[in-house]
Subunit: 527 residues, 2 copies
């Protein structure tokens, strides 16, 4: 990282139409630029201004890569039921035997070389487009919970109404750059039609970028087709407008759904997030170094597949590693071993020159208590120090991912604001050094009324939404509310003040017709 001396204190990475790397916008996208921006004047994404934390030496990284190469060569990866993936790997000169693909040392790395180091994911509001990769960081809500929880309703199955609520909450938060994907499972909708309503909700109730379906290749195709209606087919062909997050069936297996979904997004020039999903001791060895090498092998093979489908297709090197409780065998979160792993993974992703998805505000706690906050903090900070570019599960995650929490969501968002400030680094300019204030105030006096303080106090410190720094007496007077109780009030206030961003009625009509036709064409499936 370059020196931070004499750079301005707060230089947010603000996306603009000029950041589009893939050509001119369509008429439809140009029209979008005249629409009002979202409620908060907030950064579209973070541009990091602090150095990366390098845990391992180059020798250590070499060693991990060599072990990943050994796994890829001596064990290999299976692509189950996907002849097209096997054909692509065979044609690329790898060793394909049945469904097992083995790789020569360095071969996968070479196949990843065409993937872009950084790409723009476009939002329907161009001011909300995000840069993924390089020195940038994007925060996205948690993903995939069957349950939701709030203080009053307790834990219950998620519905499409909950889903829409979280889309709206993510829109209101200035600190989430992305609307996410399956924020919670809308279990009140048929399994084979949920994706249509989820993608529509991301298009309709927010103007932030979002993710598409990955539960079947045809649902991924639906997600992309809906994007063509929103952004214009030409624009979609030339620009990334949607992400699909696939989990590897760790250890060392891609099933035909995952690889098929990856191929679908890549073929459409849309981004796949390739995520080895390793609960240490279960889907991988119990020692972190082995899990890191395995994850590196698995992720890079998935990245390679996208590049065989379409060289240059945007793709994100993902990582999901947990530890395990010795007492119960349950996965644990926020523990130090995955934290160390994230740091190593950040270095490995930079070596490959790929955007990294890693970390999140993880916890195994059932409620938004001290355990949840500690684990979330300790899972997130190392991932950010390591240079993570795309943080899925940045807000709302509870109970090992089984539950999306309303209160947890706003607590996490508040901390994401703090993390914005952290990644900004220290200003070291003349104003920041305040020599005038020292000369004005002198020994033993206070700075509260100093000119420098008055000129700077409104921007000097992050002002949290939820932290209570009042006196004990004032806190008592206000009802002795803990952070959970305050969060229970805040998310309702956010929903109350939510205002939908404008939406082109013609696009809405086209999407409605697409959804109606699709729903009609399929019988409802409930499992």
């Amino acid at each position: 990282m370059a020196d931070r001396v004499n750079r301005p204190a707060r230089v947010w990475g603000m996306a603009s139409p000029a950041t589009s790397e893939r050509g001119q916008r369509s008429g439809r996208s140009r029209r979008r630029e005249r629409r009002p921006a979202a409620e908060h004047p907030a950064p579209a994404y973070i541009t990091r201004r602090i150095p990366y934390y390098d845990l391992l030496s180059e020798d250590g990284l070499d060693l991990i890569e060599r072990h990943a190469d050994r796994i890829l060569g001596e064990v290999g990866v299976e692509f189950r039921g996907d002849d097209e993936a096997l054909r692509l790997f065979r044609e690329a000169g790898t060793d394909v035997a049945g469904e097992r693909v083995r790789f020569a040392p360095g071969q996968v790395r070479a196949l990843c070389a065409t993937a872009p180091r950084q790409f723009t994911q476009h939002a329907r509001n161009p001011a909300r487009s995000v840069e993924i990769g390089g020195d940038h960081t994007v925060f996205s809500p948690a993903y995939g919970s069957p349950f939701v929880r709030d203080l009053e309703g307790g834990r219950r199955y998620g519905t499409i109404e909950d889903f829409r609520n979280f889309v709206k909450l993510a829109y209101v938060s200035p600190w989430l750059h992305h609307s996410g994907g399956t924020i919670c499972e809308p279990v009140d909708l048929p399994v084979n039609k949920r994706h249509l309503e989820m993608v529509y909700a991301h298009m309709r109730w927010t103007d932030k970028p979002f993710m598409g379906s990955v539960t079947a290749p045809e649902r991924a195709a639906d997600s992309i087709e809906m994007c063509r209606l929103l952004f214009g087919a030409d624009f979609v062909e030339r620009n990334c407008v949607i992400l699909g997050n696939i989990n590897v069936n760790s250890p060392l297996v891609y099933d035909h759904i995952m690889s098929g979904v990856a191929r679908t997004y890549a073929a459409a020039n849309q981004a796949t997030v390739v995520v080895p999903f390793i609960l240490g001791g279960a889907m991988g060895p119990v020692t972190p170094a082995a899990a890191i090498a395995q994850a590196h092998a698995e992720a890079s093979v998935g990245v390679a597949l996208t590049q065989l489908v379409r060289p240059g297709a945007p793709v994100i090197y993902g990582n999901f590693l947990s530890s395990m409780s010795l007492r119960s065998g349950a996965p644990t979160f926020g523990m130090p071993e995955p934290a160390l792993a994230y740091m190593a993974v950040g270095q490995l992703a930079r070596r490959l020159g790929l955007p990294l998805r890693c970390g999140g505000q993880f916890t195994s706690s059932k409620v938004a208590d001290a355990q949840a906050a500690q684990e979330s903090a300790d899972a997130m900070m190392p991932a950010l120090m390591a240079g993570t570019n795309f943080v899925l599960h940045a807000a709302g995650w509870l109970e090992g991912g089984l539950t999306m929490g309303y209160e947890k969501f706003v607590l996490d968002c508040d901390r994401l604001g703090m993390m914005h400030r952290l990644l900004e680094g220290l200003a070291l300019d003349d104003n920041a050094f305040a020599m005038d204030a020292f000369l004005e105030v002198g020994p033993g006096k206070h700075f509260l009324g100093a000119g420098h303080t008055l000129a700077n106090y409104q921007t000097a410190y992050y002002e949290p939404d939820l932290a209570d720094s009042n006196s004990f007496e004032q806190w008592l007077e206000e009802g002795s509310k803990d952070a959970l109780a305050r969060a229970g009030e805040l998310w309702k206030a956010w929903l109350a003040r939510y205002q939908a961003p404008a939406f082109d009625p013609a696009v809405d009509e086209a999407l409605g017709a697409y959804l109606a036709k699709k729903k009609e064409s399929l019988p409802d499936m409930w499992h």
Copy 2:
């Protein structure tokens, strides 16, 4: 930092009599070695095996040092009512005008040069002696709260019984290396006699190292005198056995009590912790860079004073920086700006070649809720990444330091265990890479029963005391307890299982006689 490749996974820094740098032990200290060790076979302190995080470039550090020099030269530091300190500075060739001392650029740095980079603080149990400085980290409980809090009793003034309870809890925790100082104020004792009972409690109910009184030079002298009874006067003359933590009257003032206390400890070859106490916007400018430069100036002047008193006396470069709420002006904790400051301060301390006190599990929350845990985590992690050697306030802190929490204490201790593991780094040896497991298990199978898993699962991951990773159903069945409720059970269990370490009756008698004589010689003072 050197490479971690092929180093053993868990190499704790275990103190031993051999680590004493200052000569042979007295007869009394040799006798101590035969006593039983504390309950837990745990590390006496941490030896860091991960790299430091360097936030700033050398240019950035130069800039901070230049501004600290400007503060020291253009404004200066006042030593109020301490003619001896002023005499020492005058004789050292600094510019003393009235009580104001001004320094030429680099002059303070040069005066700090005789301070040791690292020293041993001896415990009465030699296996508990700690190394302070270098690559080592020592955790110590929170300090100075007038109030205590537990779930049942709520918030109330602290008593000597609370004080003893916390000494015992810190003894039971394997993750606290140090017994601390004024863990809470025993307000049921006269102000001028509290120190006697506090120091005695640290000597009697634990065998970990501890801190002495700083509220008056004569109370510091009492603390040292009691150490002479415990360790032997010869041993104390040649070895550090006690720390005194002094806060600068920031900005840029030392009152005669603080400088007198520092001189008292230094003269006895005992360690002073010199701590600028800056609530940003109040005792220093509101911009972090200025507060860092001010803190650097203030701390290094205090260090210099100890070296003028006795060159080579052990001393710790301390730091306490908080941010401020824009809404209320109240200090805030766990915020990103102090986190960035800690990182810079770590680099500055290493440049000076001094042990660093920084960070802590800080919060402004009144209770051990999500706010408390998030703020504590975010205040601690950056301080550790920055290389902090001595962490005061590592456990128990609530409400900006006004309250010592029983539940917070055990929650914090659990996280200190995690931080031990984090600072240990990643093992990258053959066992850690588990190639045998990959060859045994193969694609699509699980590792739960693999030989490598069975051989490693008991040591692979930190096992928290308080985090609940059980299923939702099991958690319900067990009473739906949040972390706070579980912590309320744990501290009681710890107290119940506490067993006092053996104590030499002759020493106890000598201490008792000293306390009786001292108490008799002074009228009780209550303010």
